[in-house]
């Protein structure tokens, strides 16, 4: 379900992106109509529509008049590229900042990753 800590339309868009990344939604698949989606998740139809609209704007989804909305052919590739770009900024940079604060050297971190990589 959605929480109240950030705009729901963003959460809708985010959730569909996750589904595409995980493969639950494949490229070319038809997605639920916003009305179905809204009723299913018990959210406002206009809010759901705004989330879908964002994805259409980003080119992740595209509309076919009179039929519905579909996952764009290159959607997964685009999302992966986007996520990869954000990976270092969103996850690695804060980790390094925290490490610096705690006095953990970069060499230590690299060693840790090398040693534990196989276990995960």
């Amino acid at each position: 379900m959605f929480d109240d800590r950030s705009p729901i339309y963003q959460q809708v868009a985010e959730r569909i992106k996750e589904d595409i990344l995980s493969g639950a939604l494949r490229e070319g698949d038809q997605v639920m109509s916003t009305n179905q989606y809204a009723a299913f998740y018990r959210i406002n139809p206009a809010t759901a529509a705004k989330g879908f609209h964002e994805l259409v704007q980003e080119g992740i989804l595209h509309k076919r008049r009179g039929i519905g909305m579909f996952v764009s052919p290159d959607a997964r590739e685009r999302l992966l590229r986007e996520r990869r770009a954000r990976f270092f900024a969103d996850l690695v940079d804060p980790m390094l900042a925290q490490a610096r604060l705690l006095g953990i050297s970069t060499a230590e971190i690299i060693r840790y990753i090398r040693e534990n990589r196989g276990n995960k």
Binding site: D4, P7, I8, A38, A39, Y41, N44, P45, T47
Partner: protein
Amino acid sequence: MTHPRADRRAAPAVEIDRLTVRYGRTTALDGLGLHLDGGRIYGLIGRNGSGKTTLLSVLAAFRRPTSGAVRVAGEDPFENERLTGDICLVGEGGHVLSERIERVFALARDLRPRWDDGYARRLADRFEVPLHRTPRQLSRGQRSAVACILGLASRAPLTMFDESYLGMDAPARYAFYEELLNDYTAHPRTVIISTHLVEEFAGLFEEVIMIHRGRLVVHDGADALRARGATLTGPAEQVQRAAAGLTTLRERQLGGIREVTVYGPLDEQRRRAAQAAGVHVEPVPLQDLFVHLTAGDGDRTLAEVRR
């Protein structure tokens, strides 16, 4: 994004102009002003006694305001033959006579111009309301369900639920949300839902109206409000700097750690600067925002928040 809205009569806009209602010496509404576009679902949020029910009563032509005016589809609803059949307000019990529920529905069928009897029966089935019982013989949850059914099946272009669902248990409430959304999609209308249970309902609302002590605190898109508040926690000095110039809803301090809840646009640059300075920035859930905006007196804050 544009929403081609339903026509004026089928989903009326609501205009509220300097609305004041007094009961003897008590002021229930104090110069309230609002404009609501037609064809949306509004959440009317306020604490007990904030004036929610009074506001809805005036819109439903249940009473006359002491001063000020309301307009539904451009007209005063009070004693307005053409309009009142298209306005429906249901409270928790619904205004029903003590007769079998099928007769309660029959009365609505005769008096409500857009009543859908088949839909009412399907809803009764879904909410497990026995049609041969009288309201007195029903559980509180079932009486709530009867009120909700009256509100839904009347298909009134302006439909208002005044905490109608309070007696229902969680599965019944969820069923109500689903039915409301489905029927609203099929028959667009203007819907106002009053509640103080923000968390569970908030997803349904396109826009939120918060009132406190008979005055408007805020009216904005539900999603806009979700992005509006932030709680800043960290070293007192840094937090103070990050919060400078923003409307403060609440402050707490424990030793050198300060926590400030602010209201207003915290832009990306400011957020990053605060985070870099070691300040923890967290979003404020709608429920908490409601609590902060309507806590105790808070009139000074309200004046700053109100636009």
